[in-house]
Symmetry: C2
Subunit: 526 residues, 2 copies
């Protein structure tokens, strides 16, 4: 390949790993077969008039078809809009209008949900195995994906050669808990270099989720989250066998892990929590992040042979830091476990700093808490059609993350909290993620969330919401916290003023605890 253009990677993949498999639900394809389908599909896309700059929305779980679209759309120079199907209907529609989707490729499992949109987006393609009974009511134009594949010629469209690495490749939306979703567009070069840099350093550093080309991977992160955290590119790039569970329960996921000998997965901590409830899960490598990994959960995973690495990043910055074990530390020790679920080092070429509210860099002293700013060659630089929020977030080559963190003298970053999640009590920050981790260590706690509650005297005070796994009293947990103060884990004034026991905690579309909702109900901030 001559430059960093997504579809150009596949040629080498077929050359060196042509017989390796992509397993998607009940479908098994070799990379050779996959490449052939991609080329045929691209030929059909070209004939449909999908060309340079056409924006194509895709609504699907992780399937081989979705993966094929990642490459076929690149071949015709189109822009893939990976639609977040977990968004509320209104926001979902907003992102499709905002991205200016000209075509929508929708899985048969989402057809009903998109009914109200059928007439607003005239051109549709249905992603399904069968055609019977499938119809987009009100659509002006409708095709079946498998027809496009089977009717396409085995001939790479000529525009494939004209796609430049600086052309826009994809658009997706941040799933913040406040405000309208923000659109981010990545060029071929930025998405490839950013997504793959993560994998380069999972190979080049001592982490729990280290990887090499002999691994079999199962991305549990959906494609709409940064292309499944880059695995849509990394798998062909390294010639990895990839297993896509499509829509599956944790039980089926575990079955698949065993059957297909999956040994590397990515997921958010909530998914890890669910998998750990399935008997037989363990002995795999897990890349996790997106929210803090509570010590209790980490320990439970570690005990069943799960080795993990925490990652820090996001839709608007891609990956910037991963947990890396120091040179002389035994990677299977308890010490390493504690390290891997908290301390992260910036990826090479990424720069991470913590700054005060005036934008001055704070020292790497293990104490100063500041906002995390990151810089890297793959930072997008703006939100799409949103100059105001762009100017707030992208400043002079930096991205202001809105997260709070601490940097240690060894260069490692500990992510403390989203700024809006932290509690400011008497002018001092209280890190809710640290509190949540400490609470989670109690054997009777299944899940915990800490939010800010308005307080006349202190401004704000922490309030803990706990999902208990067995009977737990306020006194028990308060005593446990006092003990943690004795151990030096937290300051005395960090102990929440109250502990409320709940049946369950609300989860966002990104699989994180929905603190906005908790604040609305129990707290008082924002």
């Amino acid at each position: 390949m001559k430059s960093l253009v997504v579809h150009q990677m596949l040629e080498r993949t077929v050359q060196i790993a042509g017989k390796k498999e992509i397993v998607s639900g009940k479908t098994r394809l070799t990379y050779e077969e996959f490449y052939e389908r991609v080329i045929r599909l691209a030929d059909s896309l070209k004939k449909l008039g999908i060309t340079k700059g056409t924006v194509v929305g895709v609504l699907d779980v992780n399937t081989h078809r979705y993966l094929e679209l990642h490459y076929a759309l690149s071949m015709v120079g189109a822009v893939i809009h990976t639609i977040n199907f977990r968004l509320p209907a209104e926001d979902l529609a907003y992102t499709m209008f905002h991205a200016e989707d000209e075509w929508v490729f929708v899985s048969d499992m989402f057809i009903d949900a998109t009914k109200p949109l059928a007439s607003k987006f005239p051109k549709w393609v249905i992603l399904s195995e069968k055609k019977e009974g499938l119809n987009i009511e009100g659509a002006k134009e409708q095709h079946f994906y498998e027809d496009l594949v089977s009717m396409g010629e085995l001939k790479i469209p000529p525009q494939a050669e004209t796609v430049s690495e600086n052309d826009i490749y994809s658009i997706f939306y941040t799933t913040g808990t406040t405000g309208k979703p923000k659109g981010i567009r990545y060029t071929h070069r930025k998405i490839l270099s950013g997504a793959l840099q993560l994998f380069h350093h999972l190979g080049l550093h001592r982490t729990g989720a280290s990887i090499d080309s002999s691994h079999t991977i199962m991305p549990l992160i959906p494609f709409f989250h940064i292309h499944a955290w880059g695995t849509a590119f990394a798998a062909p790039y390294l010639g990895l066998k990839i297993v896509l569970p499509e829509r599956a329960t944790p039980e089926i996921q575990v079955e698949l892990i065993k059957k297909e000998e999956v040994n590397w997965l990515n997921m958010v901590p909530t998914q890890l929590h669910m998998l750990l409830d399935v008997p037989g899960f363990g002995g795999v490598k897990v890349l996790t992040g997106g929210s803090a990994l509570p010590t209790g959960l980490a320990q439970k995973a570690w005990n069943v042979g799960v080795r993990f690495s925490l990652i820090y990043g996001g839709s608007d910055q891609l990956a910037t830091s991963i947990a890396i074990v120091p040179d002389n530390m035994d990677i299977n020790s308890q010490e390493a476990m504690n390290w891997l679920c908290s301390k992260m080092l910036p990826l090479p070429m990424a720069k991470v700093a913590i700054k005060d509210s005036n934008g001055n860099e704070l020292p790497q002293d293990g104490k100063s808490v500041g906002e995390i700013w990151v810089s890297s060659p793959w930072i997008p630089g703006e939100y799409y059609k949103d100059p105001e929020r762009s100017a707030e977030a992208y400043i002079d080559g930096w991205f202001r993350t809105g997260d709070l963190g601490i940097m240690h003298p060894d260069g490692s970053l500990v992510v403390a909290d989203r700024e809006k999640d932290a509690v400011k009590s008497g002018g001092e920050w209280i890190m809710t993620s640290v509190l949540e981790a400490v609470i989670s260590e109690h054997p009777k706690v299944a899940m915990a969330a800490v939010i800010a509650k308005e307080d006349e005297r202190w401004g704000e005070r922490p309030l803990a919401l706990i999902k208990a796994s067995e009977n737990l009293s306020k006194e028990e947990i308060r005593n446990f916290m006092e003990q943690k103060v004795q151990e030096g884990k937290i300051a005395k004034f960090w102990i929440p003023d109250d502990f409320i026991f709940v049946e369950d905690l609300p989860i966002t579309s990104a699989g994180k605890i929905n603190k906005a909702e908790l604040r609305k109900k129990w707290g008082s901030k924002h």
Copy 2:
């Protein structure tokens, strides 16, 4: 960092590996100290008027000063010309004139050799520990490197911010055995992405020379060969402890390996051959290439615990392939050894093909022999100020290597020979590298070279030149070759017509057997 600019990498290195060491001869520096020296040096360079686009020649063995120049020159936007000190005086001067060196930084050990050039290049800096008795006669301007470092301010020059990834970073010359040296210039982006891609995949694939950030490396490849095969960048990039033996005998190199706990080296096969003669050498990882790795040498290294990977590339293409062991092969098996010294896979983003003389791609059938063509995002695209030879070598995004190779159905490349080194007998190619490997397997053979000799009937026939380690007769070696024919290793007609025993074999400045010289004396081709 905002883009791929060489000096921007150092900030993270200091952040995460500030206390790790650079050992250079008797000097020990931490990366923190190194970075401080780089900044002070850059400030002085700026004051001397060295600025964007200034070409600076450097004549030195691998020292910490040379490594500092790699970063300080980047900070002022200058171009580093890494002069090949092993070139004959006339060619060396040619490259300095051709590159238009405005300044020359010369080690005290090369001062005498550069006397005739002193008046032709007016501005000189002497790289040395002491000043006494050092003088460039005839120089208009002369400085001492250590003065520049000590007098510079600890202030990054403002031009550091204006250097773009598409600015020229370095220039160096191919060390071909025929014709004038060819100049190649790399931008910051190309040299970084090409050099580092090699290291990414040493981490991400199963090879003998796999590496991670806990390794200690000793580059035995000089900086003038693609910046020591990229280690000038990879070491700070990964925060690796780096040991530079400066000018040292193999004995001293082995001492240093033990003392500094070096576990990863790069070198050409000839250097490996010399190290294996030193008692106690072994148990390290070695990246090797630049010429074929004879099976005999490989086995000897393997037996003392050296694990290696062969690499394919060159000054005019950077690295494009490395030996990678298949997923299911035991990496410590004899089978793996055979694999690692011959079969290479293209790096991701690099494309390798074999083509016939009309430029048509040949099949990956394990039989067809063709010229190797490579393509990658880091290919320079031209020889400097040499449109004629550029047009011959760089065609439509490809680089014609002039090497012959075979591609196997599994996608692996076996490099057979330089086209000009191969023997064409009765219209059929005979691969001298294969023959040399087979001859080297004989226990009494220390080194062997095969060249073409004109032949009335066949056009050309192979002639073997052998350096024996003990008494060896022509009959013995001929019988040995017959036996290899029986084993199916070579074709009967490949057996050389004659075997000539020599005291020693001539070595080029790149550490390869000088076949041009052998042909001049014994052969008849070219």
